[in-house]
Symmetry: C2
Subunit: 318 residues, 2 copies
């Protein structure tokens, strides 16, 4: 095996995943497990250590430059702290980098999951070659990361780009963060599926109604593809609300390209026309031609990007 | 006179202003005139040339490093173009830098007015020493600029940070840009005064009601200072709406400090408690302690910042 190797860890509220990644962004080996969200820091660190072992053979451990860990924010990535991860018990002001480095005996670097994902797409995916890039991930939550003027946008403590927690509907829906009207509360995969469940309950004519509480984003896309009117309407509304937030991001960051990842991007082909329609209708004219594309690393943007946090070539960019 | 000199020009929809500025940010001489908004590019360029002459004595012209021009966006500051300034007739795809350089026989650099203003406050005002800074100007419109990770945030064509055109009230008030619910449409000085005029019309008990269509932001602040209940309520609502947008900017850019300038900042002392209350109530915890302060260069942030576009020391930052 040639080239430099790194391990990427994606610490999510549902799964912890690890991958051995080479310096071309190729995933060589992967492992994953369900996150022990209630187990506390020691338990989760044990899970991460087990996954890192699983993706590393003995000879590779010596050649690995380090472990990059992507986690939900807010983090303090300069000091390597998890400040407050709401989905993981005990991850408050936790010195995650120090604890992992001691356990793994490897260099560890921590990054916000959105920041890691934009780094992955920028170095190895749909954002290659651009100096200004917005990446959003639409799944359980709605997060993102930004490349501006050829560098990752970090801000104080690397906490910039919490794009899901921008209020777009004053006094709107309650968000997991406690605020109302966040983009996440109106356009995440969770919000999308909830809206579908709510509306399907009273709509016997829709194929969705048979699925009740099992309705998720995938089922809505499937029904829309088969011409179901309710599913198509809900998809159109989701596209419009995604477009509304994307218009904000165009005005705020002026990217050359917007990249969409996360589970909801499985319906990218269905969402794209409505997103573009919103952008063309409401963005200021010089922002209307910015391409909106699907992530290329599929579910691995964050995992590959986490590895890229420690791969050579990203340091100057960070 | 010692040190390097530059001329700053602030091309606004109401006034064109010019100032001779030294490399400590001190304004040595100023001149201003009402913008000939309907006269077309040649007329306005003639106004700018006249103002530059007015602030420059002959011996200074030889030692001036150039002329920095701040104008409302969207601009293409790399190519020196005014793409579409809605308030100035004929300023569409206009090669403003080339036309001015030929007329003035000086180096000319163009910058978005929000970007120039944050540069002014960063180098010489309330933002000195910070690597992450958000500046907003609340006046006729609502604009801003951002320093992130020690550099001006520019984005494609230098068009980032159109903070006023972030939708915060989906389907809200109509904005000058044609979209609905922009922060500018709900929190600019124009929106603030309009709301006061509307509510004063039906409120004989308020001191404001006697002023009818003459009500502006200054009168509302004056009445609030004298304990007028209606004026105080409108100020509180303005503070809350400013706070709502500032929370977004905290989450999006993660600054160490937020600086507020523009005419509405004359009521900063009245607005500050309500802004902070909103931030503490709705920002995610690690963002709540970011200080929100008043601009130090008062009405000159943009003018001094425009000069800073060409002063030595800003190039690396831009």
């Amino acid at each position: 095996m040639n080239g430099t190797l790194a391990v990427g860890v994606d610490l999510g509220g549902t799964q912890v995943r690890a991958a051995l990644v080479d310096d071309a962004g190729t995933v060589i080996r992967r492992a994953a497990t369900m996150t022990d969200t209630q187990g506390g820091p020691e338990a989760v660190i044990g899970q991460i250590a087990g996954l890192v072992d699983a993706v590393l053979a003995d000879e590779e451990r010596a050649s690995v430059v380090g472990v990059g860990v992507a986690a939900p924010g807010p983090l303090d990535d300069e000091r390597g702290l998890a400040l407050a991860i709401p989905t993981l018990r005990g991850f408050v002001d936790l010195p995650l980098v120090a604890m992992l480095a001691e356990r793994l005996r490897l260099t560890v670097k921590l990054g916000n999951d959105g920041l890691a994902a934009v780094l992955g797409e920028w170095r190895f995916g749909a954002g290659r070659g651009f100096s200004n890039l917005v990446y959003i991930t639409v799944s359980t939550g709605l997060g993102g990361g930004v490349v501006a003027d050829g560098r990752l946008l970090r801000g104080r403590r690397g906490m910039a780009c919490h794009v899901g927690h921008m209020t777009v509907v004053a006094d709107g829906a309650l968000c997991a963060c406690g605020n109302r009207g966040c983009w996440e509360a109106h356009a995440s995969g969770t919000a999308f599926a909830q809206e579908a469940r709510r509306r399907a309950a009273g709509a016997a004519s829709s194929a969705l109604s048979a699925h009740g509480e099992r309705i998720d984003a995938g089922l809505v896309f499937e029904a829309a593809r088969q011409g179901d009117a309710l599913a198509s309407a809900i998809v159109a509304e989701e596209a419009d609300m995604l477009g509304l937030g994307i218009v904000n991001l165009l005005h705020l960051y002026s990217p050359e390209r917007v990249v969409i990842g996360g589970g909801v991007s499985n319906g990218f082909d269905l969402l794209h026309p409505g997103i573009v329609a919103r952008v063309v209708r409401t963005a200021m004219p010089p922002f209307r031609d910015v391409p909106i594309v699907r992530a290329e690393l599929a579910g691995n943007s964050g995992l590959v990007g986490a590895a890229a946090l420690v791969l050579p070539g990203s340091a100057a960019a960070c």
